[in-house]
Symmetry: C2
Subunit: 699 residues, 2 copies
């Protein structure tokens, strides 16, 4: 009897050393097993063909035995989850969260440390995380490395940017996997602070396409109290390995059980639209922790910002002089300061006249004279306005015009300084009724030695969102680490930049026309991006004949971006006087929504084109955006997403016949037609062009 | 003609390559000269004999040419300064600041960088600093090293503690210079975090005595926006070189011109009293920047503190269990928590009854379950009380008894966390009318990689004082970097610990009887120390028969410390019930002042003995303290400091005949006599003993 019992147990254990789980659709399956030395491994198939070959799992610890081998399975557990939830703001009113879950509970021989690996398999991809239960064998610990691998099957096409611990503001490289090499790319790209640890490391999210037409995306979700994951590349073996961003002394993560790692995600589909439209990253985050979300609202805004990028005005009050210790010394105005009370009132008037919710003012606070490049700690105090910016007068004027002011907090990367002043800065915002803040992190981080993508900074960005929530304030962060869905948990974290934004076009090599066709497959998976579209005066020679820079776009494409680049906070980035020259085109920006009931990704090919239609939150109107890369594109759009039996007035904003991002970018035409859900619209997108359509139901 | 003009200029430059300056008394002279390669050097004589032989000056920069050679003198300038100023709180009502100053303005060949070296020569010592004027040739810069040397003349006796970037809580070693060696000392000394960079580095202030009876002290003043200076020791060459404390990535100092280094100080006298009574360090700091100082007041206090050190109660609510993520988890009370509402009321009653100004409560806030040793970042929030501490009830009760509550902020070294919460923590103090806070920094610093003595932390300690001033709050910091006189500039920075305090006697090898005889020559030069004297139940076996620890003192010496260890905030550290057993001795603590009009250092020998008399601020009463080391001491005190023609009732608290710190520490006697300024008092101090005397004028 005893013999049989033992045999039975052995069999159970033996069986459970390997487990598989499928996606609800059955298309994806994930296989977990312990290798010969007890190392956890996994592999992924899509429609029964391998997508991720056997890949190692585990972590290495500082001053403790590694958790990457000698494991045994204690139990395995499966579960199915299917719910839908309503984001506060979003691309759709309801998000379905449907997955099968496999929890492998492991114990390490000798150390008796327990570690769980949890897999969630959605129809569009796989996620897994490490889970460290509370236990006597593991309390506080420091992760020195994660050995998580992604063993690919072939020499895929890859859209990659260098693994840089301090910046994600790169243009994308589209190469074969074998050709990934940071040494080959042009680093004269306008990025101020770079920290690239080697030639063979790239950032996630990493978008790929196989020769057989399979789309693959490797990313992460719910990066909370953990550094960002970059990816070391073994080009010859088609292998990616997690590269966690270190801190000042080389440690990666400080944790205390119970705790979890972020989710490592692998999206896979033979239809690119499944990936670009996926809500998997949001689904993998915790539900909102804010109970009363009534104060979280979408915003369209204008602001004192682009005029600095084009050289019309300056952020600083005293021009280009270096005002050492400027707060205590008298500043001599240069006369070029953008953030004056008078100029702000002009923007408020423009916002009020054209129905914008907010006005952003950058350069309002003392410190801009030598804000960048000096690793200066006490650079801004976030509460002291320049003498020509009367914050009380400005906010009173905005209130009288029913416009909200948007605060700006540039930190220069001096996060220690920002955190010291954060309560005071938010108090000032509440005093003057600013509902939202745009934060900035241009510069090397202080505490010195920390990186933008390390655990300290990830915690900082999340902390700012949480503390802002205390004050019922919304946050739109720039130069932050890549978002991974924390905006589900703190929906007041309304948007981020965290990629190469539109402003790089004003003063650097800029963003190639394909840029906006890849961002939705990468950066935007983690949350809304404040890309700041809407540039009508596209060539910088308009401002200065000697300038050759330009936005790599047609005007019509700038309109389309309001639909293709989802964000609940959208800027009309160009100057009021430029919009006033093109009132018919500007009408689209005035009309377009920023919060949606439905979103339809109609056509998608990463790096080539994207067509999206969205239905306005709580209304019957729809908006459509279609963009292309440097290649012209003819396409026919079926309007079957529109409501049955309804007639719509469709206003089509499109490239003129001779439009071309390089030679004739502004040329556009506007036509109005009547359509139903049975109609089709033919679109001709110019090279670097796009089209935008508004659909208003005819009553 | 042209030839002669050139010759004239050369002569002027040539002459000015060396300059000398004397102290007002003429006893000290300092000689500056440029060495052959244009390196600045200095030497110091006392009564025409060398004290500091030719020593190099200069700094090394990161990524820029060193500023330690190739200099020429532009100009030299001398000045005399003589003023007296009134400290808000202090050892004397008026402080004389009298010195001669020499400014050497230097320019470096090739780089054209300008650097000034400023010498101030007082009657009791020399100070010099580097001064970097605003200039195009030097704006932002990073100091990688300071080459400042102190070349001594002989194998002096030295009172030293190891150069430790994280702790100054050592007992002093008294050896010959040649025998300095950190590897020889017992590191099982109760210090939690140690960062000693090598065997041959010691801390400043460094007290020395030459064979010929000359007293020497090397220290620094006005360490503001700069790391602490420790001292590398070349034992064979009798040479000390500045060792600046690095940051996480090895850099020492981040500066922007115009800026200055701290003052490097060399005190010298053939009378030890000149050094122990010197106000040179304070004089070298900037005058008070607080205009209204009416809220800065001396305090005598009791508190819930020693009872944790002796094991009667605990800081944490849940005892020794590790309450992981304790804030969110339910805590199970152990029943031993010290900071309860009830216990606090008992201390308030005791304070009210005995005339104490304040009550400190440690362990009142959630987080103590695993506060130490885990490098935990979010350890306290400084606003959440344990369920058994009702802050509203406590503060209302204290108010009804006319007693002030003293706040406690233990940070565990997680400074990033503290700064994030500082405004909220101070808001809470104002809400509940706490006028002062005791801060604590036990643990490895966060931001990780920083040290307690680095520039980041020096800035933090000073920042906390400044921000507290915004709220009109006083700060008493423990485990901070050594004070260097910043309490002159921010007199609300009322005291610090920053040395081995009395509590080490409760649970470690403790502080040898000589400890309190050396501290006034070292730690106290930089500002008041919260040593927390007044322990009456001296042996820990009183609490637990198995304990062998004890305070290395007699009871009478504990009384004397209230006079010999200057602080405007003085704790009566023992338990109320212990004081109630010795009401006659306790009377001295009740009577003694904490703020003074005059202070007389009557007898002083570092490491051996100290006798100090002080006149109460605004009153005619005097108090005297006399202490000795492990050796018994007979001495006669002349009372000529008392006012002429006045009669005083002198109450003498002294060691009983058979008193001995080790065998019979509590034995004391009290006698009352009538004295005038012509009287003499004979004192017999026991081994490890002392005497305290109060002088009350007879009306």
């Amino acid at each position: 009897m005893k013999y049989y019992l033992s045999l039975f147990l052995v069999l159970v254990l033996s069986i459970s050393q390997a487990q598989s789980i499928q996606s609800p659709s059955g298309k994806i399956d994930v296989n977990f097993k312990l290798s010969g030395n007890g190392q956890p491994t996994y592999s992924v198939n899509y429609k029964n063909k391998p997508v991720i070959r056997e890949s190692t799992l585990g972590i290495k610890l500082k001053e403790k035995p590694a958790l990457d081998s000698n494991f045994e399975v204690i139990t395995s557990k499966t579960a199915t989850f299917n719910e839908s939830w309503k984001p506060v703001l979003g691309e759709q009113a309801n998000i379905v969260n449907h997955y099968n879950e496999l929890t492998m509970s492991l114990i390490q021989k000798e150390t008796n440390v327990k570690m769980n690996i949890i897999f969630r398999v959605f129809d569009e991809g796989v996620a897994f995380r490490y889970d460290f239960p509370k236990q006597n064998e593991l309390n506080y610990f420091i992760i020195s490395d994660e050995v998580t691998q992604f063993n690919l099957t072939d020499n895929h096409k890859v859209f990659w940017i260098p693994g840089d611990f301090d910046s994600n503001e790169y243009e994308y490289n589209e190469t074969k996997f074998l050709d990934i090499d940071n040494s080959k790319i042009n680093m004269n790209n306008g990025i101020g602070v770079k920290s690239i640890p080697g030639n063979y490391v790239v950032q996630s999210p990493l978008m790929m396409k196989s020769a057989s037409g399979l789309y693959l995306n490797i990313f992460e979700a719910a990066v909370v109290n953990y550094p960002d994951m970059h990816l070391n590349v073994d080009v010859n073996k088609y292998k990616l390995t997690a590269q966690l961003v270190p801190n000042a002394i080389g440690d990666k993560v400080y944790l205390q059980t119970p705790c979890v790692s972020p989710w490592r995600t692998i999206m896979v589909s033979d239809d690119a639209r499944d990936i670009v439209g996926s809500k998997m990253i949001l689904n993998l985050n915790e539900p909102s922790k804010i109970e009363d979300t009534s104060w979280i609202k979408p915003m369209k805004y204008v602001g004192i910002w682009w005029e600095m990028h084009v050289g019309k005005s300056t952020w600083d009050f005293a021009g280009s002089q270096n005002a050492q210790n400027s707060v205590s010394q008298e500043l001599i105005p240069s006369g070029k300061h953008g953030a004056t009370t008078e100029n702000t009132k002009r923007y408020i008037d423009f916002a009020a006249k054209n129905g914008f919710d907010g006005v952003l003012v950058e350069g309002w606070d003392v410190g801009w004279e030598d804000w960048f490049g000096n690793w200066k700690e006490d650079v801004f105090d976030f509460t002291t306005a320049y003498p020509d910016f009367d914050i009380a007068a400005v906010s009173a004027y905005a209130k009288s015009k029913n416009v909200k002011m948007i605060m700006h907090h540039e930190t220069s990367g001096s996060v220690a300084n920002y955190e010291r002043h954060l309560d005071r800065a938010f108090d000032l915002m509440k005093k003057y009724d600013y509902p939202a803040v745009k934060t900035g992190y241009v510069g090397k981080i202080i505490p010195r030695g920390e990186f933008h993508d390390g655990q300290t900074m990830v915690n900082h960005f999340n902390f700012v969102a949480r503390r802002a929530a205390d004050y019922k304030l919304m946050v739109n962060s720039h130069e932050s680490s890549h978002p991974t869905g924390y905006s589900r948990t703190y929906p007041n974290y309304i948007a981020a930049e965290s990629a190469r934004g539109n402003e790089f076009n004003a003063w650097s090599v800029g963003n190639p026309p394909m840029h906006e066709t890849i961002l939705p497959f990468t950066r935007l998976l983690g949350g809304p991006m404040d890309y700041t579209p809407g540039i009508f005066e596209i060539k910088m020679s308009y401002y200065d004949k000697n300038k050759t820079e330009q936005v790599h776009t047609t005007l019509a494409k700038q309109l389309a971006l309001y639909v293709t680049m989802y964000s609940p906070i959208q800027m009309a980035a160009d100057l009021p006087e430029n919009y006033e020259k093109y009132p018919d085109a500007f009408q689209f920006i005035k009309d377009v929504a920023a919060d949606w009931d439905e979103s339809k990704y109609l056509q998608a090919e990463p790096g080539d084109y994207l067509t999206v239609a969205r239905k306005t939150k709580g209304k019957e109107s729809w908006f459509l955006g279609a963009i292309t890369d440097e290649n012209a594109r003819k396409t026919q759009i079926k309007l079957d997403f529109l409501s049955k039996g309804k007639k719509y007035k469709a206003i089509i904003y499109e490239d003129a016949k001779d439009a071309d991002w390089k030679t004739n970018p502004i040329a556009y035409k506007i036509r109005t037609i009547e359509v139903t859900n049975k109609s089709k619209i033919n679109l001709n997108l110019a090279p670097g062009g796009g089209a935008a359509i508004s659909f208003e139901p005819i009553k």
